[in-house]
């Protein structure tokens, strides 16, 4: 009926892509948040001096 190649491997490939995207976008979100915080801290410092 269904061979491996046509459908099983693509499904696992898509799963891997989704897993990788989740990890990457979580890291990316955290890094962007850190940058925004650093900028806010720098701005606050500049205002106070």
């Amino acid at each position: 009926m269904g061979g491996y190649a046509r459908f099983v491997w693509p499904s696992f490939a898509v799963a891997l892509i989704i897993f990788a995207w989740n990890l990457w976008s979580a890291g990316n979100l955290h890094a962007a948040a850190k940058v925004r915080v650093a900028r806010a801290v720098a701005m606050a410092l500049k205002e106070r001096t």
Partner: protein
């Protein structure tokens, strides 16, 4: 006794706990998935009808469960934040939404790939696939509503309310889709659900499910740290936090 629960409401504590939890959850996910997918792919017996194409179940079914579990996490976190004004709830809801959407997409794609050998076409208006598709629309609705507001606090509250309203509607939508499907196609079409499974097939599936859950927990913790930072830019503790 309840101190750990109350401390969950304080952003710095949650930021720290999320950091320590992530590696453990990821490790657990790797182990569980390694076993589950490995056995599911190579060692578990093929289905007598569908042959090896049946193995897609080890990705499709856990992804479907997680997409639902993630929506309820988002809806409950949003409700807690909306009702008891605990800001962390909004951060959890905002973190959970994209993960849930990605797993819904995974469930849809693998469902359609699985449909090809079973029905000969990539898309069939099957009740479970249709409900999954509508769930994806609900996720997109919540995420776009959250980002449509300039003031993030207001976007959080609006998204929390929509998540709740969507959550109440999910069972209604699901059963009306099942009712609609049973009307037009009758019961002749092979029911898409999990055929009754031998233990040797079930154990790897449960392992995969555990793996998906642990992975969801890990990514939720990672995104949560980012979302907490975004919402606590004025707080003092944030200055030390970004140093590490």
């Amino acid at each position: 006794m309840w101190t750990w629960f109350y401390r969950l409401a304080s952003p710095p504590y949650v930021y720290g706990v999320a950091a320590t939890l992530t590696p453990w959850l990821l490790a657990g996910a790797v182990v569980a998935l390694g076993y589950g997918e490995g056995v599911g792919l190579f060692f578990a017996p093929a289905d007598y009808q569908q042959g090896d194409a049946f193995r897609i179940i080890y990705v499709h079914v856990p992804a479907g469960w997680i997409s639902m579990f993630c929506y309820s996490t988002m809806a409950i976190a949003g409700a807690i934040a909306l009702i008891w004004r605990i800001k962390i709830g909004h951060a959890v809801a905002a973190a959970a939404a994209p993960i849930g959407a990605s797993f819904t997409l995974l469930a849809l794609v693998t469902g359609s790939l699985w449909g090809r050998p079973m029905w000969g076409t990539y898309w069939v208006w099957d009740p479970r696939l249709t409900s999954e598709l509508i769930l994806l629309f609900l996720y997109i609705g919540v995420m776009s509503l959250r980002s449509a507001f300039e003031d993030p606090a207001r976007g959080d509250r609006a998204a929390a309310l929509l998540g709740l309203v969507g959550g109440v509607n999910i069972p209604i939508i699901h059963y009306s889709v099942v009712w609609w499907n049973s009307l037009h196609q009758g019961a002749t079409v092979a029911k898409f659900g999990k055929p009754t499974m031998a233990l040797s097939m079930l154990v790897p599936l449960l392992a995969c499910f555990l793996g998906f859950m642990l992975f969801f927990g890990a990514v939720l913790c990672m995104r949560l740290r980012g979302e907490v930072l975004n919402r606590e830019r004025q707080a003092k503790w944030v200055r030390e936090a970004i140093k590490t």
